[in-house]
């Protein structure tokens, strides 16, 4: 339960074996590689780059991807919402992958697929051209004559064009008293499409046409009536559509190849990832050097795996030096691992610092349970999470969120029962008195009846967590040997906060007097601690007072936990409201039962989702903002081992 201890490893191998070593490391997935040639300037300067040829792998990968893109273009893969959210993928053994890659080549498919893809591109382009043409022709549809006849005659000029509708009456006025005829062919909301005939021998006609400011539309090179032309365009569009449907049908017929293509693509991608690591290697005349970080516990496993390749491999493991940026990996027992999700959201602690995961776990569970606070919802949440873990084919590690939700569900059952929430007030109107009695027997505190008590419980939990956070800070100071910091920075607050609580809420009598004195002493201790750094003696009291002012920060932090009351009430009251409305729905004649069931299912599902989201986020926030701020030393970069990264399947050993 801590940040894993890391070793810096160097692997020296004869050149021809370098790729094999990388493959083994990829499979083991426990080493984060660093660039051997730049990591250590003294050592790296003597190393040469390792040449690598990736062209063929990239071509193969591109082929497989294009085929997949084409074949799945017309296919909507059915994936559950949860499966999609978690990123569930099919598990395939490595042997199967290799076997598939040996028997399968995408070349045959590729020829057809790439032809079809480029044809689809052409179809798309032709279609947009034809659609634009169709749009333009629609305006002239009413013109019932072949367009090639719409040409100038010796005595008359023929102009086709469009103008804004609001300009139309002005244009029509211009034709009066001059030998010009204006025919409106079509009007849509904004434009009028017109044919203008003007005598050539009249200067007035010429001027009038100019004054109309038509936007000329050339129809001259078209042959046939607009209606005929439109029919032609429609026919072409239809043909394109048909062709596309044929391509789609062919693609659908080949859908059976998709699983093999996917396995092939992942297999090639894995080989590509090995080749892409060439940049991390450094070469001497006959050997290759690899360097990286490996968790201490895994070093021996890696050593065995590498020595199994050949005797010509050497691995040296060292402790990290003072200037090293060591990657951080959390190591926790199985039941704590789901909570690493929460730590991961915030970011990792720096190397050598405390891993907060097991420490926040109980707080998170309690807060989540109080925020959701409905035993019925807890049962549903646990059931759904466990179901998803069982049913979805998930790689190890990606079930952590679901396992966390299952734990949170169990906690919700406990706190829901304690606060009397079972799908809101469902038991109150079910005709089973035993349920009501059981609920009453389990209920310790109904937040709707005693909101003040619940508020105090929330704040008390907050104080406990804040105090615990300060305690962890003290421990970190002591572990580092910083006795003065422990004594003057965290010590006084650890003492002052409980004294203040006792003073405000403790039992009356002499105890209150003791608490008051203790609080006063604590305050002086805080002031003394803060002013020890202040060199000017006359400023010391003010520095002390300023430090005391951060009491408001602790106060605000504590109040922040009041959200547990609000979130708990929100679940319960809205759930009860849904029951209320469903009962109203049950009174509808004929469809009453259906309405009741529909409102209950839909309403509670919605309420459950919204409140699980809210409870999760707010319980997390209390860790990050109120708890972590007391002790957490952030800044660790996550450990990202070189491992098998696949897109479509996950590899099983």
């Amino acid at each position: 339960m801590a940040v894993a201890r890391m070793k810096k490893i160097s692997v020296l191998v004869l050149k021809p074996l370098a790729w094999q070593v990388l493959e083994v490391l990829q499979r083991q997935g426990a080493v984060q590689l660093v660039r051997a040639r730049t990591e250590d300037p003294d050592l790296g300067s003597g190393l040469a780059p390792v040449p690598v040829e990736t062209g063929e792998i990239e071509r193969e990968l591109e082929k497989a991807r294009l085929c997949l893109r084409h074949l799945t273009r017309f296919w909507r893969e059915r994936k559950g919402f949860i499966a999609n959210f978690i990123g569930a993928r099919r598990g395939v053994s490595r042997a199967q992958l290799a076997q598939n890659a040996g028997q399968f080549s995408p070349d045959e498919l590729f020829a057809g697929c790439s032809r079809a893809e480029s044809r689809l591109d052409e179809i798309k382009q032709s279609r947009s051209g034809l659609t634009a043409r169709r749009q333009a022709l629609l305006a002239w549809q009413a013109l019932d004559m072949p367009l090639e006849q719409l040409t100038d005659t010796p005595g008359c000029r023929v102009i086709t064009g469009q103008l804004a509708v609001r300009e139309l009456s002005r244009a029509q006025q211009l034709t009066q008293a001059v030998p010009v005829h204006l025919e409106v062919v079509h009007q849509d909301g904004r434009h009028a499409y017109v044919v203008v005939l003007a005598r050539r021998d009249s200067a007035d006609a010429e001027a009038a046409v100019r004054a109309m400011e038509l936007t000329a539309v050339s129809l001259r090179e078209l042959a046939g009536t607009p209606a005929q032309l439109l029919a032609g365009v429609d026919r072409q569009l239809q043909e394109l559509e048909q062709e596309e449907a044929e391509i789609a049908a062919r693609a659908r017929q080949l859908l059976g190849e998709v699983p093999r293509l996917r396995m092939y693509a992942d297999w090639v991608a894995l080989a590509g990832q090995v080749r892409n690591r060439a940049a991390d290697l450094g070469a001497t005349a006959a050997t290759v050097l690899l360097r990286g970080w490996c968790p201490e516990r895994q070093v021996e496993r890696i050593r065995e795996a590498l020595y199994a390749i050949s005797p010509a491999v050497e691995l040296v493991a060292e402790d990290p030096g003072p200037g090293d940026r060591v990657p951080v990996r959390l190591e926790n027992p199985g039941w704590v691992q789901p909570f690493e999700v929460i730590t991961g959201i915030y970011g990792y602690p720096k190397y050598g610092a405390l891993d907060p995961t097991p420490l926040l776990a109980p707080f998170f569970l309690v807060f989540f349970g109080l925020a959701l606070s409905d035993a019925g919802y807890g049962i549903v949440l646990t059931f759904l999470s466990v179901l998803a873990i069982r049913k979805l084919d998930l790689p190890r590690g990606s079930t952590r969120l679901l396992r966390l939700l299952a734990y949170a569900g169990v906690s919700t059952v406990v706190f829901g029962a304690l606060t009397g929430g079972w799908f809101g007030d469902l038991f109150d109107f079910l005709p089973v008195p035993a349920l009501r009695q059981a609920r009453a027997a389990l209920t310790v505190l109904d937040p709707l009846q005693q909101p003040m008590t619940m508020l105090l419980v929330s704040l008390a939990l907050g104080l406990v967590q804040i105090w615990f956070g300060l305690f962890l800070k003290l421990r970190a100071f002591l572990a580092r040997g910083a006795w003065a910091d422990a004594l003057w920075e965290t010590g006084p607050w650890l003492f002052l906060l409980p004294s203040l609580v006792l003073m405000a809420a403790g039992p009356a009598g002499p105890w209150r007097q003791y608490a008051q004195n203790a609080a006063l002493a604590g305050a002086l201790w805080v002031m003394a601690g803060a002013s020890r750094q202040q060199p000017k003696w006359y400023l010391k009291p003010f520095t002390g007072l300023w430090a005391l002012y951060s009491i408001t920060g602790y106060f605000a932090d504590t109040l922040s936990y009041s959200r547990l009351l609000a979130l708990g009430l929100a679940t319960g009251v809205i759930a009860s409201a849904i029951n209320q409305i469903a009962r109203l729905g049950a009174d509808i004649p004929v469809v009453g039962a259906v309405a009741f069931v529909a409102i209950m299912l839909g309403g509670h599902a919605f309420n459950l989702i919204m409140n699980v989201l809210g409870s999760f986020i707010h319980s997390g926030r209390l860790q990050f903002v109120e708890f972590f701020s007391k002790f957490f030393e952030e800044g660790g970069g996550a450990f990202r081992p070189f491992r098998e990264e696949t897109e479509f399947v996950h590899v099983i050993d």
Binding site: F81, N84, F85, V341, G344, I345, Y346, G347, L448, P451, M452, L455, L559, S560, S562, R563, L565, A566, L567, L569, A570, V573, I574, S576, A577, Q580, I609, M610, L613, G614, I617, H618, G620, R621, F624, V625
Partner: protein, 185 residues
């Protein structure tokens, strides 16, 4: 956006002033309509805040999904975040009804003074939900941009907008406590 929320607040105050005027003119008026007005404000202003917040986030999320439909699952929670303000408003209205004994089938009789007590008890949740809903929506929009660029950081993206919600929660707590202990019924 800010002008709009100011406008809504101004309208709220205006309606309240008119109600006060009416009350002063008709001394015999019952307190029930005033109490219900408080409940209605909580629902309406919370709902307006959430509508705007969820709407803003939805526009941004739809844009990202147009590029990458696989992000739907990650973006939906971000869009849903500013939705809670509307729920808090409804919650306050239910608490008013609960406190007035409406679920027990009574028609409560309130003095004008008691009506105003309930009305003002509802204001914290109403106004904080209106404004925090909008601003949480804006933080969600930014978080959606974050997920679009770095999908692996969707956990952090959830936390940023959630910080805004604190003030809606505080408003709700004030309203709950005022309704439970601050109102003299």
């Amino acid at each position: 956006m800010f002008a709009m929320s100011l406008g809504i607040v101004a309208a709220t105050i205006g309606i309240a002033m008119i109600s006060i005027g009416l009350t002063l003119l008709q001394i015999t008026m019952s307190g029930l309509p005033i109490a219900l007005m408080g409940a209605a404000f909580a629902v309406v202003l919370g709902g307006v805040g959430s509508s705007m917040g969820v709407g803003l986030a939805g526009e941004a999320a739809a844009g990202v999904i147009a590029e990458d439909p696989d992000k739907f699952g990650k973006l939906l929670p971000l869009q849903a975040l500013p939705g809670t303000q509307g729920i808090y408003g409804v919650l306050a209205a239910f608490l008013v009804m609960f406190r007035l004994g409406m679920f027990a089938g009574q028609v409560p009789v309130l003095t004008v003074d008691q009506g105003w007590q309930v009305f003002f008890a509802c204001l914290p949740v109403a106004l904080t939900c209106l404004v925090s809903g909008i601003y949480q929506g804006r933080a969600s929009v930014a978080a959606i941009g974050l997920v679009a660029k770095r999908p692996e950081e969707s956990g952090k993206a959830l936390i940023m907008p959630a910080m805004v919600e604190t003030y809606a929660v505080l408003g709700l707590i004030a309203t709950i406590l005022l309704l439970m202990f601050g109102v003299n019924i």
